[in-house]
Amino acid sequence: MNTTVVSLPEAAPPSAWHRFLDSDFVYAYKRSPTAIVSSLTLLLFVLVALFAPWLAPQNPFDPAALDLMNARIPPAWLEGGQWQFPLGTDGQGRDLLSTLMYGLRISLMVSFCATLFSLVVGVTLGLVSGYAGGRIDNLIMRLADMQLSFPTILVALLIDGLSRSLLPRSVHEQLALFVVIFAIGISTWVQYARTVRGATLVEKSKDYVHAAKLIGMGPMRILFHHVLPNVLGPVLVIATLSLGLGILTEATLSFLGLGVPPTSPSLGTLIRVGNEVLFSGEWWVTVVPGVCLVILVLAINLLGDWLRDVFNPKLK
């Protein structure tokens, strides 16, 4: 067994933060331009999304603030552009820059929630499946097999339909967003479950788990206190990558008309709408959010890829 070389200062043990700064992870990070650029890009996007209401010149979600008179103004540097709308406006008279900021917010939110949701579901099922084994394991894995045969779009339809018939009317309006989140989330849990199950199978036979059993610890506590923290590495990588995928899936669902409501457009919705006007000369309506989406997803994917390499114990 090759242990990694770690310096052992004999003085007081370093603080957690110091240890973090001193870790291989941070070291690898500092040496990877890709990781730095992509994480900074992502950070920028996240900040913009978080603070959109304060940063955006206009609130594109407030229909009353929109004026059809301002529809289809090209970006400011083009002929007919106005500096009031730096990136131009769309067919509704929405300032594209503001729409973009808000769209980013929705996209990230949907993708983040979907990822979180599938992560929680997938990790829990994976842990239980791997730890319990036997019939439960078989059942969960068959569920996973089933999941594979359902396209996200059908899942979206099913969830939408089910929630409509099961939930009271009064909550329907807020549903659209959740339906998308659920649909995307449900479609990706299998990956987590399988990975975590595999990792759990490895971890549960490790002696520290036995040691915990010896003092009479129950399976749930062992799972969540001992096993869980040790299987989170690959989960983090999947989560990062599926964050990017989630944004694309949401865009695709929007393309099929099943995405988030058009009054609160996401990047995907914006592209879908822009996609329609690709021929008409108003290229900015699609190019601006398109480029933004590609950069965002690319940043996430690059980061995820890098994380995967860093976290792969077999490449240490």
């Binding site: 770690v6 052992l8 043990p13 040691a211 010896l214 003092i215």
Partner: protein, 335 residues
């Protein structure tokens, strides 16, 4: 069990007695496996009986895959036997606690926990001490195993293998065990570190009066820590004897083989005629005495009939037809 033996050990208190212990693993998995498959199983442990006296160390030795760890897990209660029983003399009493030290020092500590937390876990979880006394006790334990109290804040990866094994020992002791199972605690360590750990274990056992089940594949290590030794071959006990008896008068051909094969510092140039043959697969064990394909003394009875442990005059028990029939010369140890 043999009447003579029972008398011999009556004055000493028996802490654990295992009777006809067996653990069989079904081969293959799946819903229909049991119904459609042949229902084969690996008899990892099969018909094993032994006693451990209070405050003493019973050792198990044997080659890889012979079922040592399985037996250890059964004794520790991590696994349930498919046959037979394990009886602890003080079972059910408040201070009956079993702890275990594991083979792989790199897997026996949760990498996410500071070792202080790891050592404190048995105390906290079993509420052995009020919270205020937990950390002092942890520090005390660390000192006891030769580490510094300041180490409590470190993570396992900051320690070498030997130090980790000390931490494991500290954690095991933290649970105030009345019984300690050590599953090859030094086989992953270098000799110089092994010596440290062996010395430590011996000292602790003497100081705390622990009863131990000690497992190793190295007879020399066994020699150093145990009172009684059991030699396992393919899930069954081949020979059980007090340590000195075993080393000076090994009776089972397999025991003799093990002793001969162990590389020794002073055996330079000895051109041993090594035992031929491979260790059989436990999936497909030989009939009769499992050792017969490799045994120079095997005859038809050995091929057909499983030998049982039988007591010998010098206090050892041997499961060998050849020994029973005195087909081979048998030495006896005179204490």
């Amino acid at each position: 069990m043999n009447a003579v033996l029972k008398e011999a050990i009556v004055e000493k208190d028996i802490a654990l007695s295992a009777t006809d212990l067996g653990r069989h693993f079904p081969v293959g998995a799946g819903l229909l496996a049991g119904k459609l498959g042949a229902g084969r199983s690996v008899k990892a442990v099969d018909g094993v009986s032994f006693d451990i006296r209070r405050g003493e160390t019973f050792s198990l030795v044997g080659e890889s895959g012979c079922g040592k760890s399985t037996l250890a897990r059964l004794v520790a209660g991590l696994d349930a036997p498919s046959a037979g029983s394990i009886k602890f003399a003080d079972a059910g009493q408040k201070d009956h606690r079993i702890q275990m030290i594991f083979q792989d020092p790199y897997a026996s500590l949760n990498p996410r926990y500071r070792i202080g937390t790891a050592i404190a876990e048995p105390i906290r979880f079993q509420k052995l001490l009020p919270e205020a006394q937990v950390m002092p006790r942890v520090h005390e334990l660390l000192r006891q195993v030769g580490l510094a109290p300041a180490d409590a804040l470190k993570f396992p990866h900051e320690f070498s293998g030997g130090q980790r094994q000390r931490v494991s020992i500290a954690r095991a002791l933290a649970g105030n065990p009345s019984f300690l199972v050590c599953d090859e605690p030094t086989s992953a360590l270098d000799v110089s570190v092994q010596a440290q750990i062996l010395n430590l274990l011996r000292r602790l056992q003497e100081q705390l009066g622990l009863t131990c089940l000690f497992i190793s594949h190295n007879l020399a290590v066994i020699n150093y820590v145990s009172h009684d030794v059991g030699v396992m071959y393919l899930g069954r006990l081949a020979e059980v004897a007090p340590t000195r008896t075993l080393f000076e008068a090994p009776k089972h051909p397999y025991t003799q083989l093990l002793l001969a094969a162990l590389p020794q510092l002073d055996t330079r140039g000895r051109d041993k005629s090594p035992i031929t043959g491979e260790i059989p697969s436990p999936l497909n064990p030989p009939s009769g005495c499992a050792f017969h394909p490799r045994c120079p003394h095997a005859n038809d009875r050995c091929k057909a009939e499983k030998p049982e442990l039988t007591a010998q005059p010098d206090g050892s028990q041997v499961a060998c037809h050849a020994v029973q029939e005195r087909r081979i010369p048998v030495m006896f140890h005179s204490a």
